[in-house]
């Protein structure tokens, strides 16, 4: 999928470009508002990451110019943590916003969300190695053995399974499982993961649920034995 980053801070551009390229995005970069406007209008992108504070032409102006031509999804980055900016950005046609400082994972989450809007219905039976998650029957099995999960544990597992291979941040998990969309400063996610892991990986030699320290959790089959 094709993505345009309009941002003037070189370090930000560098890590976004390499990080998103690794995630499978085709990344174009514009370092100022005018170039950004030009690229955004000339080419078709799946999503645009637009900074508010830009040289030559600010993010709002770029957005306005873009919206006069097309409806490419736009996620705005703002350093000014002010409601006004957000309101203005959203009113003028931004699809989402992120306040600096933001985490890379969070940005990836939002980009997925924006791009997923057009995706088709996912399957209702997810498999990963010897794990099967039946979203309709609300049951999970490993190696043919049914896992005795509570409702929340099942929900947590299905969230991780749906996005297998993706690192999910604590905030993302809190939002998807508990519908709590802010950083709660609690150990709820850690404990829930710990309990799920005990039931999911405890009795089995292959570990599926991995902790990515400082970032979040990922459900995947790893080549070597799980180190976490």
């Amino acid at each position: 999928m094709k993505l345009l980053i309009v941002e003037d801070e070189h370090k930000v551009v560098d890590y976004l470009r390499s990080g998103l390229t690794e995630q499978g995005w085709i990344v174009d970069v514009a370092l100022d508002g005018e170039e950004g406007t030009h690229l955004a209008i000339e080419f078709d992108y799946d999503v645009i990451v637009l900074d508010v504070m830009l040289p030559k032409r600010d993010g709002f102006s770029v957005l306005k110019a873009l919206r006069a031509h097309k409806a490419t999804p736009v996620i705005m980055l703002t350093a000014r943590d002010q409601i006004n900016d957000r309101v203005r950005g959203l009113r003028e046609g931004a699809d989402d916003y992120l306040t600096k400082p933001f985490s890379f994972l969070e940005l990836v989450e939002r980009l997925h969300a924006l791009a997923r809007r057009t995706r088709v219905q996912e399957s209702t039976l997810i498999s990963l190695g010897d794990l099967y998650v039946d979203l309709i029957g609300r049951r999970a099995t490993r190696d043919g053995v049914r896992l005795d999960l509570t409702a929340k544990e099942f929900q947590l597992l299905s969230v991780l399974a749906r996005r297998q291979g993706d690192i999910l941040s604590k905030t993302a998990i809190t939002e998807l499982v508990w519908d709590v969309n802010f950083d709660s400063h609690t150990n709820v996610v850690e404990t829930a993961i710990k309990r799920l892991r005990a039931k999911l990986d405890g009795p089995f030699p292959t570990k599926l649920l991995h902790t990515v320290r400082g970032m979040g959790y990922v459900l995947e089959v790893r080549e070597e034995a799980g180190t976490s």
């Binding site: 400082p101 929340k152 508990w178 802010f182 400063h185 609690t186 709820v188 829930a192 970032m215």
Partner: protein
């Protein structure tokens, strides 16, 4: 616009003085005029009496001749008094009656006649009729006295009064200006005191001891304002210091461990470990920065946006569902009562609830119960979280909602809590037009916050069992799922 008080007061005093002087002067003037008039009439009566006797007895032409001589003698040269007699018989004539415009007329034959222009030419005339007697026919006798003396006196008097009033008022003006200036001297001192107050000299207060009563209130309220500003400024300073301090720890860790990592050739695993540890510190800093920005916005008086009608009981139930694991681990039960439909920002409200509940969970013994009550109090809806716990010192109570305030030093290292939890509750309450409170009595500590009740009204009042028990909210939960499932309490 910027007129001096002293000048204004002096002018006002002078105006008052002029008014009083004018009033008194006018009174005096009227009294004097009446008295003079009375005096003139009395003297006219005397003369009329004499002339009347003279004319009355002139019963023969000889006697009339003598009488005429007498009348001539009595008539002064300056024409201040005039006698005249006339009758049908032309021989009984003397002088000429005054003629002119009759200005006024009283009973007893008195007339005020204006003989020329101006009141100094006025004459007071008294005309009497003498019946015929002996050879003398009936005659008319008129005695007239001039007003000129009166008019002169009155004029001099009026002039003197006006001049004195003007002089007096001028005197009052000058005197009251100096007196007011003396009287306002404390104000000058107050100004000097007030101008000495600056951020470097914040403890400076106005000296109220020697101030007059009227200025005392002003100085006291000014001092009160200074006190509050001083407090706010002090909090801001300590806040900045706290922030710097809170950020110093992660930054120190970051610099230190990165330096250590770079001083030798490390394995990839070691470097990964360093990066992961760095990331944790960065996340910690991000959380602090975001919370601080949030608190700063609340401080600027920003109101919550994104308000929706929400059943607070449902929100509390949602929070309790989220906190199921911490509740279970602490072996604590939580129950809630009451409900209200209020417009709130659900995220902010939920966060405040989580912070209060986490605070309660961390501070109560295993096996105890946390009580959440939602009550309407006037135009506010109060959410109170009560837990049995150690009594809190009153001095500590006052600071519990302060930023970075930690009652126990020992728990500071908790990663989850950087000391802003309760401050965020307070900010949330303020952004919803509410406030926070904390009480500690009879072994129960109650932390509460309120939000302005702008919603369409209460869903159910306190004491009525809750329909939205968490058990029914999370209907998918199996019993094994939640041993500490919070339930609504029946009161």
């Amino acid at each position: 616009m910027n007129r001096s008080i002293a000048r204004r007061l002096a002018f006002m005093f002078a105006a008052v003085a002029l008014f009083v002087f004018t009033l008194v002067g006018t009174g005096l003037f009227l009294v004097l005029r009446t008295q003079l008039e009375l005096h003139l009439r009395e003297s006219l009566d005397d003369r009329t009496q004499i002339a009347r006797i003279i004319v009355y007895h002139a019963v023969t032409p000889e006697k009339w001749k003598i009488a005429r001589e007498k009348l001539t003698d009595m008539t002064p040269r300056d024409g201040v008094t005039l006698y005249s007699v006339w009758s049908a018989d032309s021989s009984y004539q003397f002088g000429k009656p005054v003629t002119g415009q009759v200005m006024d007329r009283w009973s007893g034959g008195y007339e005020r006649v204006r003989t020329g222009p101006g009141s100094e030419n006025d004459m007071l005339a008294n005309t009497v009729t003498l019946p015929a007697y002996g050879q003398r026919p009936a005659v008319m006798l008129q005695v007239a006295a001039g007003y000129s003396a009166n008019a002169r006196t009155m004029r001099a008097f009026a002039f003197a009064l006006a001049a004195l009033s003007a002089l007096g008022s001028l005197g009052v003006l000058l005197l009251s200006y100096s007196v007011t200036r003396i009287g306002l001297a404390p104000l000058t001192r107050l100004t000097r005191d007030a101008s000495a107050v600056s951020p470097n000299n914040r403890s400076q207060r106005l000296n109220t001891r020697s101030l007059p009563l009227e200025l005392n209130d002003l100085a006291n309220s000014f001092n009160g304002a200074l006190e509050r500003l001083d407090g706010a400024y002090g909090r801001l300073e300590s806040f900045n210091a706290d922030v710097a301090h809170e950020l110093r720890t992660p930054v120190t860790i970051l610099i230190g461990q990165t330096e250590v990592a770079l001083t030798r050739n490390r394995s990839v695993d070691d470097l990964r470990h360093t990066l992961q540890s760095n990331l944790e510190e960065f996340e910690r800093m991000r959380a602090i920065i975001n919370d601080m920005l949030f608190l700063a916005r609340a401080d600027q008086g920003e109101r919550a946006t994104g308000l929706v009608d929400a059943s607070l009981a449902a929100e509390v139930a949602h929070t309790l569902e989220f906190l199921e694991i911490p509740l279970e681990e602490a072996q604590v039960r939580a129950v809630y009562t009451g409900d209200a439909l209020v417009r709130v920002n659900k995220s902010l409200f939920g966060r405040a609830c989580i912070n209060l509940l986490m605070n309660a969970i961390q501070h109560c013994a295993p096996g105890s119960s946390i009580m959440v009550s939602i009550t309407r109090e006037g135009d506010q809806v109060r959410v109170a979280v009560a837990n049995p716990g150690e009594p809190i010192e009153p001095a500590v109570l006052d600071h519990l909602f302060d930023r970075f305030y930690r009652a126990e030093v020992s728990r500071t290292n908790s990663r989850e809590n950087h000391g802003l939890g309760l401050a965020i509750v307070k900010a949330t309450a303020e952004m919803h037009g509410g406030k926070v409170s904390v009480t500690s009595s009879a072994g129960i500590n109650t932390f509460a916050f309120s939000v302005a009740a702008t919603g369409s009204g209460q869903v159910s009042s306190t004491g009525i069992p809750n329909v939205n028990a968490p058990a029914s909210v999370s209907s998918s939960a199996s019993p094994a799922d939640a041993p500490m499932q919070p339930a609504s309490a029946n009161h």
